[in-house]
Symmetry: C2
Subunit: 458 residues, 2 copies
């Protein structure tokens, strides 16, 4: 008889595509490298029931999560499409991944730092967990000079997504959050993982104990705060991902007042602030009183093409206090020191390059390029008679397909135009009927995608 | 009357050094930049009681944490010492921070990648959250060729410390952990933050609901497993930080058997494996059966001087299953995709440089250099009549000062020799009476520290 302890879970295609809990109970076995016996997948064998399992319970909060995280799921469908159509020239306007080279003034700064690390004088080991003093000061001076945010309020990070999860660890499992609906899925998913929510409710496509603040064309993509109950935390992204809507000064003033009246903390995601063309605020801290109720998280990803380089920051003003008077920044500092060791020093050198006069100019050019792409996409759908939103202050175009299912539209565009988009419902039930088109792409790809879309929907 | 809403918490020295919860209730007010009125610190004014606080409760788990995270606390004491003795030539053998330049073959790889990012062909945006396929394959081939660990079992990270916290998020708040006592403080502190523990018990200097497995000279720094109750998770670091002890093959076989009998998961921290000189296993996966009960976390930090570059990895074999049969790797993948966006691509290029034939040789040289430092430190304390442990397989020397308080010895060495060490009790109650000396330092500093220590304890 075969020694079953020597076998793991089968990695054959049927098993891998099955939900893991089923796969693990299946009888599909795979020999380890040391075993030469070949075992074929045989259904309904009792063998796998004896596969060793630990006695550690799976984290029930993670079990609540639905399907995969949105973007890996889209990548999976893209791969499946490519398998089906091996010759297809797929154009990806889905995940929002930057495509244009990083300006040389910035990469030179990173290469220089890398080389310096091999010299006695230029070598440095652990950096401060909160980031290099010079970079924190440059961020404060560049983006917050008029709002009283200081160097010590800035925590440099390896990106906004990473900091969102660290903020959730900071808040813990007892808080209740509100999100814009639709919104970037990391807010909701990290809330589920931390145990802040109840189970997913299939009928409404929402998790229990999260407040979904509907943002639609009807309310100008700004929630009707008079009907929103108090929550501890309010995640608010502006310019918004996915709708592209930037909140006005008046709206943000309302939001800060709402938070202050309720004693809530706003986590303001300003990752797209540099895309703002009108006079919408680029930071929540432009609003008087925000320092007592808001955290801001930001990123170099979409300005300098740092999606792979990994660099962002979070601002926690020292004026922001928990109900017992304890400064929020002090606890976040403890999280950062315990769970993080600082962003890569090479990336931080790149951040300093970004904030040099030449770097700022170069980033403006990159942003300007993507904004031109946005115009092309807007023109495409407008000429086809679709209502489009966002775009003006963001690298995202939010296209309305009234009465249609987002994933169906996603599939149709992928199948017929070989263009990857993002289904609006992936951002929450409020995104149903919409598709997000990202403006991150080489110009020729944007033009070609526009051509195919015009052909598809003419 | 002054409008108190315009004032934040005072940043004057007395307020900043006071515990934050007190400071926030104090009356020390600071005008924001927009207010020109100058307000002096005045004690016992009722003013600060009206400072705005949110209604969000502080996370009770974070409130359980004692003092600061160990290493920032040591940095603080170092800074205080320097203020007191401005001319002192402090030698830091505390935090375990690498000091030697990164070999050029590795920095060249990083600089080359940085430059490539400014070209159309060389640019890349988001990488896979799990790391570049080529790097995952190289790690599997270099370190796990004989143990059946595959590329897909490897998750590339921005460092072991970061992954430890992500693993704790994976496990959630319901598990109970065991740690070696003494041990690297990130295991315990991340457990507290996740809500796995009860309050800190001052009398025994332990958190409730953590199993501290005593490791002392008496048991050869390997716990008496016959007296250890079952826990869900066992954090085990070998070669150990701080004791420097590497577990033998026989001991690790015992550990795996213990975990398997209890259905526990071992989180094996092998960050110092390359320092092993004898035939102790360099990976838990050298032990048969470990793939069903163990996770391994590792790092380039101490091999290539990557403490600031940030690159590590975690191995979760597909054979490791929760009690319901769900693969642990599948949930970790979800955490990584939701809370992380991959290590910097430039750091990953450095990792590929490390694992090239020249890179491996260069890392061996770096490790060899620090091991020579270890010999100098061992000789110093041995010649002074002290019992020293570790050192043989690790960059740490664990020096016994019987009957003395670790922080007192730390203070004595800092005060009289201007040498920063790490007090053993910072790693748990089992470290009391010991001091950890790090071998990371320039040769001349190690020699000078040895001279001062010989002078101090002659």
């Amino acid at each position: 008889m075969v020694n079953l302890q020597k076998f793991g879970v089968c990695r054959c295609t049927p098993c891998r595509s099955a939900p893991a809990s089923r796969a693990s109970k299946s009888s599909h076995l795979r020999p380890t490298r040391r075993v030469t016996v070949s075992v074929r997948c045989v259904s309904s064998s009792p063998a796998a029931d004896t596969a060793y399992t630990t006695k550690v319970s799976r984290n029930a909060n993670i079990a609540k999560l639905q399907a995969g995280y949105l973007f890996p799921e889209i990548a999976r469908r893209r791969t499946a499409h490519l398998l089906k159509h091996p010759g297809a020239k797929i154009i990806s306007l889905g995940i929002g991944d930057t495509t244009e080279p990083i300006p040389e003034v910035i990469t030179n700064a990173m290469a220089e730092r890398a080389h310096a690390l091999s010299t006695v004088d230029g070598y440095s080991g652990y950096g401060a967990e909160q980031g290099e003093k010079k970079l924190r000061a440059a961020i404060a001076a560049t983006y917050y000079a008029d709002s009283g945010i200081e160097e010590t309020d800035i925590f440099v990070s390896d990106g906004a997504k990473c900091d969102i999860s660290r903020l959730q660890v900071l808040f813990g499992s007892s808080v209740k959050i509100a999100v814009q609906d639709p919104s970037y899925p990391a807010y909701v998913d990290s809330s589920v993982i931390m145990g802040q929510t109840d189970l997913y409710q299939q009928d409404v496509q929402k998790y229990g104990n999260i407040e979904y603040m509907r943002c639609s064309p009807e309310n100008g993509f700004f929630p009707d705060l008079s009907s929103v109950p108090r929550t501890d935390i309010i995640f608010f992204c502006s310019p918004n991902n996915p709708t592209g809507a930037a909140a006005s000064r008046e709206q943000l003033t309302q939001l800060v007042k709402f938070a202050k009246n309720n004693g809530s903390i706003i986590v303001y995601d300003s990752a797209y602030a540099m895309y703002i063309s009108d006079d919408s605020p680029k930071s929540i801290f432009e609003i008087p009183g925000a320092k007592e109720v808001a955290i801001e998280t930001a990123s170099f990803s979409k300005y300098a093409g740092f999606t792979g380089v990994r660099l962002g920051w979070t601002v926690i003003p020292k004026e922001l206090l928990f109900s017992d008077g304890h400064p929020v920044a002090k606890d976040f500092n403890r999280i950062v020191c315990t769970s993080f060791n600082g962003a890569s020093t090479i990336s931080q050198a790149g951040g300093l390059g970004c904030l040099s006069p030449e770097g700022l100019k170069a980033m403006q050019d990159v942003v300007g390029f993507y904004k031109e792409n946005t115009d092309i996409i807007v023109e495409t759908f407008t000429s086809l008679g679709y209502n489009v939103y966002g775009a003006k202050n963001a690298p995202y175009v939010w296209v309305h397909f009234p009465g249609r299912n987002s994933w169906d539209v996603f599939a149709e565009i992928l199948e017929k135009a070989h263009v990857v988009t993002t289904p609006g419902s992936g951002f929450g039930p409020g995104g149903e009927g919409f598709v997000r088109i990202s403006a991150f792409g080489h110009r020729e790809n944007i033009i070609e995608a526009a051509r195919r879309l015009k052909e598809l929907y003419k």
